[in-house]
Amino acid sequence: MTAPKVLGGFVVNGERHQTAFQPHRTLLEVLREDLDLTGTKHGCELGECGACTVLVDGTPVLSCLVLALEAQGKDVTTIEGLADGPDLHPLQDFFAELGASQCGYCSAGFMLAAKKLLEDNPDPTRDEIRRALSGNICRCTGYIKIFEAVELAARRLRGEDATPSREALHGQ
């Protein structure tokens, strides 16, 4: 059975896209394979890792389990849309500076989930950060650097001093 393609329209990172795809294709597949937005990673493809996290109308969801059809008419934000022109988002700055991104496979998902957290809660505790990011798995960093990067990004977004400690940058 070849299901006919449907024409889908959505806004990705502020840009309107029209593309034809078959109904069974996931948002992850259409983003990566049709729109060439390969910043969104595919890991388990079963909801078990968080690598494919994107924002749909501002809410973090797993693009491996959302049909592209279900994102029609919605606003999708991927990691490619996090920076503001040439200016990186504070989360990106601090993930890079602290080594919170090592192989980088999980980073897009973590940063998008963290973006939503910081919008809802500009001054989260370490525990609130852990909970909000508990749907994203990292096999490299051991998570501490990620939590520190989110804390520093939160400080900068609040307009406070966000100089990383010596320990955060170089270890003890």
Binding site: P23, H24, R25, H42, P60, L65, A113
Partner: protein, 333 residues
């Protein structure tokens, strides 16, 4: 890539329209809510509907209404995140809010719904695997084969009831509304299930779950949910205890305890409940503590843990009295 099989997609805008589409297509069709259970199952090819009926456009299935005193109703398409954050539910049904908050992950809870959680497929280490994996040892009874790999001499499937809200909702006496080709009905949540890993629900073909009805809050009862799992996130329960106690003053007048994650349905711990009824149960009281520990011990026998989930079955069974006692203590004033 692990891709979905091909299907035709339907997007009705009301529950009635959804039921009609399902009736038109029969067993080839399946409803999808958040898709966090159905789509992984379709990717593994254990469920393969060719007509997928998305409920996301049915506005009549979303939202929380009613009052604590008269009973709160939750639409089937309400996401677990909205349920968890609803102020009325937080105040009236903290145990349900807690049970929802320990499901999967924050990202999955943004997608998954309460209706989907009530109708979550039963799980098994031999079933929740890719097509190739299952084919390599030959398919089991729950999907295309005729042997159960957990209990090869067994004539039945022992796949595990794994929803976190179900044991609690059975214990508190919640109800659900369903509509189907034969009309509407409202039944206790407990009657939505039966003890079979394959035919685990009594939902009729094409029936749509529309609402969950929570019992009125009148200050006479308290409930709790306690979950056992390896990681504090992602993991399904390997034991999920729902407990409900009604009191007249300090005396327990009714009790219902359900053991989830340890059988194909949320198993009632009947003996445990019987031992508590008529007893004076006050938090911190040594005699009450003794009664609870003794009653909880009776939850060992009915717990039917098999080696088809994470953790050893023997250990999960041993943990049942421990978790039942914890849930019961939560219910004391």
């Amino acid at each position: 890539m692990l891709r979905l099989p091909r299907f035709t997609y339907h997007r009705p805008t009301s529950a009635a329209e959804a039921v009609k589409i399902a009736a038109d297509h029969g067993p080839a069709s399946q409803y999808v809510a958040g898709g966090t259970d159905l789509y992984p199952n379709m990717k593994r090819r254990v469920q393969t509907p060719t007509e997928v009926i998305a409920l996301s456009g049915c506005a009549d299935l979303v939202g929380v209404s009613g009052s604590a005193a008269e009973g709160i109703t939750v639409g089937a398409m309400t996401t677990l995140t909205s349920l968890e954050k609803d102020p009325a539910l937080q105040a009236a049904h903290p145990a349900l809010v807690h049970a929802a908050s320990v499901i999967s992950t924050p990202l999955l809870r943004n997608m998954g719904t309460i209706g989907g959680n009530l109708l979550l497929d039963t799980r098994c280490n031999y079933y929740d695997q890719s097509h190739e994996w299952r084919e390599s040892i030959s398919f089991c009874m729950k999907c295309s084969g005729d042997t159960c790999w957990v209990a090869p001499s067994s004539p039945r499937c022992w796949a595990v009831q794994s929803s976190d809200t179900v044991p609690l909702l059975c214990a508190v006496g919640a109800e659900v509304s369903l509509i189907g080709p034969e009309g509407e009905r409202r039944i206790p949540v407990a009657d939505l299930y039966q003890d079979d890993g394959i035919a685990f629900t009594t939902k009729k073909p094409g029936e749509l779950l529309t609402h969950l009805h929570l019992p009125a809050v009148d200050g006479t009862w308290r409930a709790s949910y306690r979950k056992l799992r390896r990681r504090d996130t992602f993991d399904f329960p390997v034991l999920g205890i729902g407990a409900w106690l009604r009191f007249d003053g300090d005396v327990c007048t009714a009790a219902e305890i359900r053991i989830g994650g340890a059988g194909s349905y949320a198993i009632p711990a009947t003996k445990t409940a019987e031992l508590l009824i008529g007893e004076k149960l006050v938090a911190g009281d040594a005699a009450a503590e003794e009664r609870i520990t003794a009653a909880a011990q009776e939850a060992f026998k009915p717990t039917r843990a098999m080696d088809n989930t994470d953790h050893f079955a023997s250990w999960r069974k041993k943990m049942a009295p421990v978790f039942v006692a914890r849930a019961l203590r939560d219910c004391l004033g």
